[in-house]
């Protein structure tokens, strides 16, 4: 897959042709190395040309050529947010955000970096998300974006459909569950739950968690496991409401603490499921 190839060569000629490349912040571009001019054709080679061009070694004693990543995707990947994006195929402007397909030539587009998952899934940016709408959107998008639809299309379109389809999967699964949704919303505001011990944790709360875990460990019947499962579900429902309220008010530290509590109970819920499957 050329997008993830480890061959990139940028030469002075190309810098002149595509000044945008110099402006990008993409890490992959920062890693490029200029090669000596004679080993690269001055015309802008298409992606396929690069693939076929095996003999890229310089002649003579020049062995300085470094093979690094070549992102042969369209110039649109190097545009900053202020630039209007164009279709990689027909060069027409893409007037939508997010743009899944070009309105002119119908080619599938690569996903834009850093687009909010809420925007991709066309959901309101709030914690109390409509999961039915989310699921409908997910199925609708995958019907058109799934790579199976592109098996007869060009390599570019196959790659872009793979990337977009994977991103839509990620967006769906992140936004589906309250815990991952809440954590993502915090992440958008620059807040993460740090790894390591929570020194501010309430000892009584930790004790309660211990007791629930120990009880779950000792259950002998599915009914006992279910009872703990119901209790946990109740806790999760209450936490969901509290997190929604906190996020609506913009009380991020409270939301963070509540999401941490939710994580513990989500783990217990997982263990209840495992326990119940053991009984089967």
């Amino acid at each position: 897959m050329l997008s993830y190839n480890s061959l990139r060569i940028v030469c002075p000629f190309r810098a002149l042709l595509h000044p945008n490349w110099l402006m990008t912040n993409r890490q992959s571009v920062n890693k490029t190395v200029t090669c000596s001019a004679h080993c690269v054709s001055p015309s802008f080679p298409k992606k396929n040309t690069w693939q076929r061009q095996n003999n890229l070694k310089p002649t003579g004693n020049e062995r300085k050529l470094q093979y690094l990543t070549y992102a042969a995707s369209s110039p649109r990947n190097y545009c900053t947010g202020q630039f209007k994006l164009n279709c990689w195929n027909c060069k027409q402007p893409l007037d939508q955000t997010p743009a899944f397909f070009c309105l002119t030539c119908k080619a599938v587009q690569p996903p834009e970096e850093d687009t909010s998952l809420f925007i991709i899934m066309d959901c309101d940016y709030k914690f109390s998300l409509d999961t039915h709408k989310l699921q409908k959107r997910y199925l609708h998008l995958q019907r058109s974006l799934h790579p199976d639809n592109f098996s007869q299309k060009s390599v570019e379109e196959q790659e872009y459909s793979e990337s977009y389809s994977a991103l839509v999967n990620k967006a769906y699964h992140t936004l589906l569950k309250p815990l991952s949704r809440g954590l993502y919303m915090l992440e958008l505001k620059g807040m993460v739950i740090e790894e390591g011990t929570d020194s501010g944790a309430d000892p009584e709360f930790l004790m309660e968690l211990m007791e629930i875990n120990e009880a779950l460990d000792e259950v002998k019947t599915p009914e006992e496991a279910n009872k703990i499962g119901q209790h946990t579900k109740g806790k999760l429902a209450v936490l969901t409401e509290e997190i929604d309220a906190a996020l609506l008010k913009g009380e991020l530290p409270s939301a963070k603490a509540l999401l941490a509590q939710m994580k513990y109970f989500a783990n217990i819920e997982e263990k209840v499921k495992e326990k119940l499957s053991e009984f089967m």
């Binding site: 390591g196 930790l206 000792e218 263990k271």
Partner: protein
């Protein structure tokens, strides 16, 4: 009981060993054997009487991964840790870290136990970078248990002073 505590970590451990198949991990010492040993044969799983004045209880949680760890120590009249127990609900690395921690604190004085560092635990178990926070949790659990014991001793001494007045 030990088996059920250990079983909680099976799937994360499978993930761990899959990560380990990447070439960069092959050169590491046989960490997964040690972790596996601790979770298949955990040492000192159990509970001590938390109301006893000789018992310090440390209860810690890691919110990012949802792990909970309890570590208890029993200290004799000479300030030496004679027994230790743990209960951990979390991944294999967390269980192994706390199991190892209880092994190490036994026989140490309260002051010596304070010197146990998470880096020593991680090194002994050859934990990968992504699991270093588990060893940190174990170190924090030891410190919490020692702090609880110290607090109880101080409360005891204050009571004795008040009684003698």
């Amino acid at each position: 009981m030990a088996g059920t505590v250990a079983k909680t970590c099976l799937s994360p451990l499978a993930l761990l060993t899959r990560r380990l198949s990447a070439p960069e991990f092959i050169t590491q010492c046989c960490y997964h054997k040690k972790v596996v040993d601790h979770y298949e044969n955990p040492r000192n799983v159990g509970t001590l009487d938390k109301n006893s004045k000789n018992v310090g209880t440390g209860l810690v949680g890691a919110p990012a991964c949802g792990d909970v760890m309890k570590l208890q120590i029993e200290v004799d009249d000479h300030g030496k840790i004679v027994d230790a127990r743990f209960k951990t609900f979390g991944c294999g690395s967390a269980i192994a870290s706390s199991s190892l921690a209880t092994e190490w604190v036994k026989g140490k004085s309260v002051d010596e136990a304070l010197t146990i560092k998470n880096t020593d635990i991680a090194k002994e178990l050859c934990l990968p970078p992504v699991k270093l926070h588990c060893s940190m949790l174990a170190e924090d659990a030891i410190k919490a248990a020692l702090a609880d014991y110290r607090r109880k001793q101080q409360d005891d001494q204050q009571e004795a002073v008040r009684a003698s007045v």
